[in-house]
Amino acid sequence: MTNDPRTMSCQEFQAHLPELIGSGENAANHPHVQNCELCRALLADLETIAEAARQLFPVEEPPDELWNQIESAIQKENAGPEPA
């Protein structure tokens, strides 16, 4: 295994990728990516997935009735168990 980013294999680069991406570095600037079409494609896909995820699922508003149900359940709990 090599520690030289210019000569590392795809396997070595990809093993390093979670930390590289998670650290916020621009992985596209990594020397391995400059010379490796496969890893460049992988990185492009991961960027596409992350970007697409941001477009998904806007924060949803629960129905107003939900609070009423929660409030009722709290009151029920506060009242304690029903007498037998």
């Binding site: 979670p18 496969l38 699922f57 149900q69 709290i74």
Partner: protein, 237 residues
């Protein structure tokens, strides 16, 4: 009675803006990124004063204050539940359970982490318990974080697939996320959709930051596998 609406008062946002995904993979922050969001630990270091006051009062038994906490956090908790179970009725039940749990346990919150992190952890436990009852392969947070070998994504080196060409079918992505093992789905939803940072996810799931990064990467790889298969599956229909 409806809880007070934080939109009518000076209440900061209840949860982090969705910036993590863009920052993790693209160096240019999006236009909707408030500056404070980029500072690590920002939500822990700068407590929301409105939330802090409501929290203190709710811990002392003030029902109005508890309603205010609900208003502050209901969207995030409901959305998380909805994303994890993909069913509105179940998501409502889980949100109710999470806030009932909060009501029972709120006095035990000591401020060791951000309140929203603590509440999310509580809600995540409710969701995982629910998935376990449904017979899905999630027993605990630990197991959720350690999917079985069969759940692992394929290795990418040597793969001959072309790229996703910069676009993803929305329905395909939603289906692929829904098909992820619960542990991967949880990490992906928290980080890439909700915008939580790895340090926050680590606190919520009681795992290491490295584990959070690793699991997120595996989730994305698994999604990539699924999305590459999607056009061929569709073509066979």
């Amino acid at each position: 009675m409806q809880p007070p609406d934080p939109a009518n008062g000076p209440v900061p946002t209840e949860a982090p803006p969705r910036v993590a995904a863009s920052r993790a993979l693209a160096p240019i922050p999006s236009a909707d990124t408030p500056p404070q969001a980029s500072a690590p630990f920002s939500r822990v270091a700068v407590p929301n004063p409105v939330e802090a006051e409501a929290l203190a009062r709710a811990q002392a038994g003030d029902h109005q204050a508890f309603a205010q906490l609900y208003s502050l956090h209901k969207r995030r908790i409901y959305s998380l539940c909805l994303r994890m179970v993909s069913n509105i009725a179940e998501a409502e039940d889980l949100t109710q359970d999470a806030f009932l749990q909060l009501h029972r346990k709120i006095a035990t919150f000591r401020g060791d982490s951000a309140f929203s992190t603590w509440l999310h952890r509580l809600a995540i436990n409710v969701v995982l318990m629910h998935l376990r009852r449904k017979g899905l392969s999630v027993i605990s947070l630990d197991e959720a974080m350690e999917p079985t070998p069969d759940d692992s994504p394929g290795r990418s080196f040597g793969a001959t697939d072309l790229t996703l060409a910069g676009s993803i079918d929305r329905l395909a992505l939603e289906q692929a996320i829904a098909d992820l093992p619960a542990g991967y789905r949880l990490i992906f939803v928290l980080h890439d959709i909700e915008g939580y940072e790895h340090n926050e996810i680590a606190a919520m799931l009681d795992c290491s930051i490295g584990n959070s990064k690793s699991q997120l990467h595996k989730a994305r790889l698994k999604l990539r596998d699924a999305l590459h298969r999607f056009p061929r599956q569709e073509a066979r229909k």
